[in-house]
């Protein structure tokens, strides 16, 4: 007991009940999912074998990954520019931009999704205007296809991309950039050699956040995709709620979980993840 005390900080005893609870509440459902994926409808790896048998499942997974990658690329790139502008403009404009960003952050996803239909639908503001001024004869199909899904998702994800970047950029010592230009670096050299590397942890955090959130997207693809863009999250929900193929749903959920974990693992090979999640850069 004494020997134990020496090694275990007494603080752990205080948080132990909470820790156990948290672990149980996190691990319990995850283990349940993994269990379901190898037991429902019958024991074995039949659910996983479906991946090899069904082109449709692979197509759904590929659609999901493709849309998530494109969404992440655009949201993070746009988010980077927005965060950069916010950090480098005057305080008043910055507050203004932050307010706009948070307002769009707080608006329900349904409202945002349907607003895009109002704007870019077949009879939406943009198409009607373009037709009225004679620029186009037929409405442009912005919505109810993969392009529409991307517009909706990128728009939704931009605030998520901006916030980690904003934190990362605000934490930068401006003098480091001054030092670079003082040493003769051009603006572009300073950006590529100093600014970008120093904001990389924020960039990675933002990329991970957006990508992982995108994987779980459901409402926007369902509505803006016109039913034709089927992503994993919606497919899982249908398997759970409508077709009662819980084993398939669990298998896909497990697959996404392992996919994300694998991604984090690969990332951790290249950089310390603690710097991404707010730890000190070393």
């Amino acid at each position: 007991m004494h020997a134990l005390r020496k090694h275990i900080h007494p603080g752990w005893l205080i948080i132990a009940p909470l820790l156990v609870l948290v672990v149980a509440l996190y691990l319990g459902p995850i283990l349940n999912i993994l269990w379901l994926s190898v037991t429902d409808p019958e024991p074995g790896f039949g659910n996983y074998a479906k991946l090899g048998e069904s082109d449709a499942l692979l197509r759904i997974l590929w659609t999901t990954v493709r849309i998530c990658i494109i969404t992440t690329m655009f949201s993070v790139t746009l988010g980077y520019s927005i965060a950069y502008a916010m950090v480098h403009c005057h305080q008043r404009q910055k507050n203004y931009m932050l307010t706009l960003l948070l307002v769009s952050f707080w608006i329900s996803i349904l409202v945002r999704t349907f607003s895009w239909l109002m704007l870019l639908g077949r009879k939406g503001l943009v198409n009607v205007t373009l037709e009225d001024i004679g620029l186009i004869a037929e409405p442009i199909a912005f919505m109810r296809n993969e392009f529409g899904v991307l517009i909706g998702m990128i728009h939704y994800m931009i605030p998520y991309a901006v916030l980690p970047l904003l934190v990362s950029m605000q934490a930068l010592d401006k003098r480091v950039m001054d030092a670079s230009s003082n040493l003769g670096a051009t603006g572009a050299q300073t950006f590529w050699r100093i600014y970008l590397p120093l904001t990389t942890p924020g960039l990675v955090a933002s990329t991970l956040l957006v990508f992982i959130l995108s994987l779980g997207f459901y409402v926007t693809p369902a509505v803006l995709g016109g039913g034709k863009v089927l992503m994993v999250a919606e497919y899982i929900s249908v398997q759970l709620l409508v077709t009662l193929k819980w084993g398939t749903a669990a298998m896909l959920a497990a697959l996404m979980l392992f996919g994300v974990l694998a991604m984090l693992w690969i990332m951790s090979r290249f950089m310390k993840l603690s710097t991404v999640f707010g730890g000190a850069a070393r």
Partner: protein, 368 residues
């Protein structure tokens, strides 16, 4: 999960036995201890079972108000029991989850009749007590062991009168004919109705649809995929028409009237070959109100309740005794009205209950 269900049943039985004096207190407590359940939890659950109300599980919104006025009031008047609502939407997976978890909080779910076919044999539903509920007050074939149809809704379509002018589409064959009737269509995303419409369009007779020829139906669906959108909810189907995204839309027939009104008559409902869907009441296994819920279902079958639901929600009566009472202004919209009843076809809940899951997946895979 099954174990938990068994445990609860055992304890509830035990609680009854204890109350009636058939089991001594020590034995009952030992039983509770053995299953790790506090005494109060079982007694409370038991007390709930003797509740003075039934809980209806539906989709909320207007249907909450309408179920209250059309059925709840009459039910309360005759039994003295109230009606409460759970509006979280009784999808098949949620019913299964609720029963499996052993924490059943709803008495009757406003669901589809095919849910009774898929969930009944797996032990998730209470059988319908046909000594209280009447098999004659619904259409033949729609009174099943684990569920009874109390209303009908239908898959019909609306079309844009300005797009098609003097030569409007009249049946599913026209709906699927994009050469003769160009423009975007919308179909139901979860296969139901869409598959049948495709087969009818392909020349299958309305009374010879089942078992569905999936390959043939999906081929037909795919043939107009480029010109199709798919909706997942009634409001989405509605907005696709009202916002001019489609020129022809499959819809739930009870939405037809609203779409006609919201487009000032530009869109028109076609009930020819409409697919009648038996909306059903089903009872989750171990429902808290117990047998009292059968009285509620019986009340819903009565002609006044049937007509009130039609008036309030646009849901068509399934009790043949009510067909003749459908008022004049509903003749065009109610699919079992004298005007429509000879033109409609009937959904087979048995086929859907047994094959629905695979059909939905095959459909989703075909359209995505």
């Amino acid at each position: 999960m099954q174990d938990k269900q068994f445990m609860k049943e055992m304890l509830t039985d035990g609680a009854h036995a204890y109350k009636e004096g058939r089991m001594d207190r020590r034995t009952f407590l030992a039983l509770c201890g053995a299953s790790g359940v506090a005494l109060s939890a079982v007694m409370a659950g038991d007390a709930e079972a003797a509740a003075d109300h039934v809980v209806m599980w539906n989709w909320g919104g207007q249907s909450e108000e309408c179920h209250g006025s059309a059925i709840g009031d009459a039910f309360t008047a005759s039994t003295g029991k109230g009606l409460k609502f759970d509006t979280s939407g009784p999808l098949e997976g949620k019913i299964k989850e609720m029963v499996d978890s052993g924490n059943v909080t709803a008495d009757v779910a406003d669901a589809d009749l095919f849910n009774a076919v898929s969930l009944g044999p797996t032990g998730h539903l209470e059988p319908i007590d046909y000594s209280v509920v009447s098999k004659d007050k619904t259409l033949p074939g729609y009174a099943l062991e684990y569920g009874v149809s109390v209303i009908l809704y239908g898959y019909a379509f609306v079309y844009d009168t300005e797009a098609y002018g003097d030569n409007p589409p009249q049946n599913w064959a026209d709906f699927f004919d994009t050469a003769k009737f160009p423009g975007m269509r919308s179909l139901y995303k979860w296969a139901n109705g869409s598959l049948e419409a495709a087969l009818m369009a392909d020349g299958v007779a309305g009374d010879a649809l089942y078992p569905l020829d999936m390959d043939r139906a999906l081929a037909k669906i795919k043939s107009i995929k480029e010109d199709s959108l798919y909706w997942g909810s009634g409001s989405e189907a509605h907005s696709m028409c009202v916002n001019g995204e489609v020129t022809m839309g499959m819809i739930w027939q009870n939405r037809g009237r609203n779409i006609e009104n919201d487009t000032d008559g530009r869109f028109k409902l076609v009930n020819n070959q409409a697919m009648a869907m038996p909306g059903a009441y089903i009872v989750p296994k171990g429902n808290p109100a117990g047998a009292a819920v059968m009285q509620f279902i019986a009340t819903a079958q009565e002609v006044p309740a049937q007509l009130a639901l039609l008036d309030c929600l646009g849901m068509t009566p399934s009790n043949p005794a009510a067909f003749g009472e459908i008022p004049e202004d509903q003749q065009d919209y109610a699919i079992t009205s004298a005007k429509n009843i000879d033109k409609i076809v009937y959904n087979d809940p048995e086929w859907w209950g047994e094959n629905g899951g695979d059909a939905v997946n095959a459909f989703l895979e075909a359209i995505s």
